[in-house]
């Protein structure tokens, strides 16, 4: 039984007899810095980011190693703070109470003789708590580190200067031929054009040439008829041009003028 009592003492049940190693030196005195002016207390308690943060504070305040927490002492200090929070009616997150229960459980497990459990490695009841404390501490530190990194708007100022004369350029959308034809097929289907007068094979080059011819003509001046034909286009080109002229006449878009028989023929757009 005496051995067991030793173990408990070693784990620091009694703060006054606490023995902890700080840089290899045993520490037996608790730093007495618990007193905080009452008006500051509320602000102080609100600065804790949760039970792990509060526990870390309690441990660090005493220069203790996370790996060697005097559970009983820490538990009672933790409970003091939780009571304070309750008294001050601070919004006490349920997490604080869960942690209190966890501490109490660890404390009891460390005090009680362990029933031998077969085939189960004995682990320190504090192991899980220590793991969580360390895990939290590393991100708490990482958060502090993050805060010290150079930051836009505080430490570094990206440069953006005006550029007179520069203006956004609109990029034009891409269209595929398939899209274009698909659109036409749809509109024709909608107009039921297939069943009517457009089923014949249209010579699109004639239509194209109609546009080109029209563009060259105006209503002010007469253009010689023969100027509409370009021999270098060959027979087919001449035929296409001729058909275009006929179509344009049929559509009353142009008119032909001949002063007398065998005189040159002129063309102009109908005004």
């Amino acid at each position: 039984m005496t051995e067991q009592v030793d173990a408990v003492e070693r784990l620091g049940d009694d703060p006054a007899r606490l023995r902890a190693l700080v840089r290899g030196e045993p520490v037996t005195e608790l730093p007495r810095d618990l007193y905080i002016p009452p008006d500051a207390l509320e602000v102080f308690l609100e600065t804790f980011e949760g039970p792990l943060d509060l526990l870390l504070y309690l441990i660090r305040r005493q220069n203790l190693d996370v790996l060697d927490i005097p559970i009983a002492a820490i538990t009672s200090q933790y409970m003091e703070y939780v009571e304070l929070m309750k008294e001050l009616r601070l919004e006490l997150a349920a997490e604080y109470l869960v942690m209190a229960a966890m501490l109490a459980e660890i404390k009891s497990r460390m005090l009680l003789p362990r029933a031998p459990v077969e085939d189960e490695e004995e682990t320190d009841p504090r192991a899980e708590l220590v793991r969580r404390l360390q895990e939290y501490e590393r991100y708490k530190t990482a958060g502090e580190d993050l805060d010290t990194l150079p930051r836009v708007g505080r430490d570094v100022f990206p440069v953006t200067v005006p550029a007179p004369g520069a203006a956004p350029r609109q990029q034009e959308p891409h269209v595929s031929l398939r899209e274009l034809l698909g659109a036409l097929a749809e509109v024709l289907g909608r107009a039921e054009m297939f069943t009517h007068h457009h089923v014949r094979k249209e010579a699109l080059s004639v239509r194209e040439r109609m546009s080109q011819t029209l563009e060259r003509l105006n209503s002010e001046t007469f253009t010689p008829f023969i100027a509409l034909f370009r021999p270098e286009e060959g027979r087919l080109g001449v035929v296409v041009s001729f058909l275009a002229v006929l179509e344009l006449i049929k559509a009353s878009l142009i008119e032909l003028v001949q002063a007398e028989p065998f005189a040159p023929i002129y063309v102009r757009a109908r005004a």
């Binding site: 520069a166 990029q171 054009m193 009353s252």
Partner: protein, 201 residues
Amino acid sequence: MSEPQLKIILEAALLAAESPLSLDHLQALFADAGAPERASLREALAELARDYEGRAMELVEVGSGWRIQVREQYAGWVSRLWEERPGRYSRALLETLAIIAYRQPVTRGEIEEIRGVSVSTSIMRTLQDRGWVRTVGHRDVPGRPAMYGTSRQFLDYFNLRSLDQLPTLMELRDLDKVHPELDLRFPEEDSAPGVPEAADE
């Protein structure tokens, strides 16, 4: 801390400022003690302006003070930064374009008749701005409406030698079977410049 050069402090402030800084403003940077004379400020600014010779930026004095800006001769390069992502054309625009291609020369009224709905002015403007459609004449009826046709750029864009390469209206019924040799891909698909976009956005 050794005091940095006056002109470098001014440079820092001018580069970071969101609007031009007046001499008063620049002087105020030096708070209470040791604010430089206006003459020294002017001198430092002149020096800074000289430093920027041959560079992309310049220091200019505008109405409300001094500012650093990109020289106008580089405006063209800067404009490319701000190119907007291409949008998509509306169905109405594509239909209008197709009708003009197949039925040219054609008036807006005729397009509307075929489509069964009116054609907006902005569609006609877009097609003309793009250089695909132009006015080829005016129909000799009251109001003298413009007649539209397609352009050479239209053929170039769609990689066509002539309009004859387009399928006939008959063939349009079954697009997939016709003209397998037609280049139905997006014309600029291959050469589209890499969109400089973060892969994870």
